[in-house]
Symmetry: C2
Subunit: 155 residues, 2 copies
DNA sequence: GCAGATCTACTCGGATAGGTGGTGTCCGAGTGCCTTGGG
DNA sequence: CCCAAGGCACTCGGACACCACCTATCCGAGTAGATCTGC
């Protein structure tokens, strides 16, 4: 079970975008330079965030990415699932219905216990991430960090 | 973020082994036939469980796998991490220390906020799985299931 | 009948190929800004 | 001086190779049991 490396990239990029002033944007190239990342691949991931409705993109000069909604309304879960997909890590393929020990269909009306427990764990993970917004992240960084970020990122 | 397909296999196999009577064993071939799985690859995964101390293996005729400890002392987390490895899905590579916006080392004494939140979510997932033992699973299946499992699996 | 050695068949254990999804890269379509010419 | 049209440079968006990990498989080492022989 491994999250894509780009997960860290988009989390930090989203946090940086949350530090911009309303109306400002940052291009994929600027963000890539800010964190020393491969620009084209980072752009691909930011596209995914745009499709998911987390970021908004504008083309042309002075264009780039910005948050699609207030930082308080964007959770870490939305960012992570935008790049990793909404698929559950544990996929029940109903092997209990195969082989010599196959159970009759009537005994498989409800989802199997193991799948339920795995789903419970995944829900706990999702709830934990859904409980943290970008605004919460900004609350935990030094007060003078946003100004520095803006200066270096867009300068 | 995807768990190996074999996760479902070993979870069901462990649950089946938990239904055996003390002293009995089931071979990889028997378990594979019971669920219609590729026997050699399943054996490889059961080896991983043995290395992790979840199962105990005995060779020779009448040999096979059995639980290494009472079912109440084996959690789903131990089984899952035995096949998937103990690595955390989110790996912080400290990109905040790279690129134009690199933070000075003195500001990176403590782990970055995002890595901490991702670790919190992973801990919630692990706690959820650690709270379910094989004994809990057996409590939720019909009372006559173990006898059927033994008959078909070892017969 | 019994004990010992042998022999066999069955088990696990590790080393070896192939397929799918993430990683990294490229070029094309579209748009806002700037320049430039005219009124 | 003001305005409008054109050109341009910059942006995102999608399509194309490469590599690592999971999937799948094979054969060899070791052992418990059964067999056979001799006493």
């Amino acid at each position: 079970m491994k999250l894509p490396t780009s997960t860290e990239w988009v989390l930090h990029c989203a946090a940086s975008l949350a530090q911009l002033q309303s109306g400002d944007t940052a291009s994929a190239a600027q963000l890539a330079a800010y964190y020393d990342l491969p620009a084209p691949y980072l752009a691909k991931q930011l596209q995914a965030l745009t499709k998911a409705g987390v970021l908004a993109a504008s083309t042309g000069p002075r264009g780039g990415f910005r948050l699609a909604r207030p930082a308080a309304e964007i959770t870490l879960l939305q960012i992570v699932e935008a790049v990793d997909g909404p698929a559950r890590p544990y996929e029940c393929r109903e092997i209990r219905q195969q082989g010599r020990g196959a159970l009759p269909r009537e005994d498989c009306q409800d989802t199997c216990v193991l799948a339920r427990k795995m789903a419970d764990a995944h829900d706990a993970w999702r709830r934990s991430l859904a409980g943290v917004s970008l605004a919460d992240i900004l609350d935990e960084i030094p007060a003078d960090a946003p100004a520095r970020t803006r200066r270096i990122l867009m300068g």
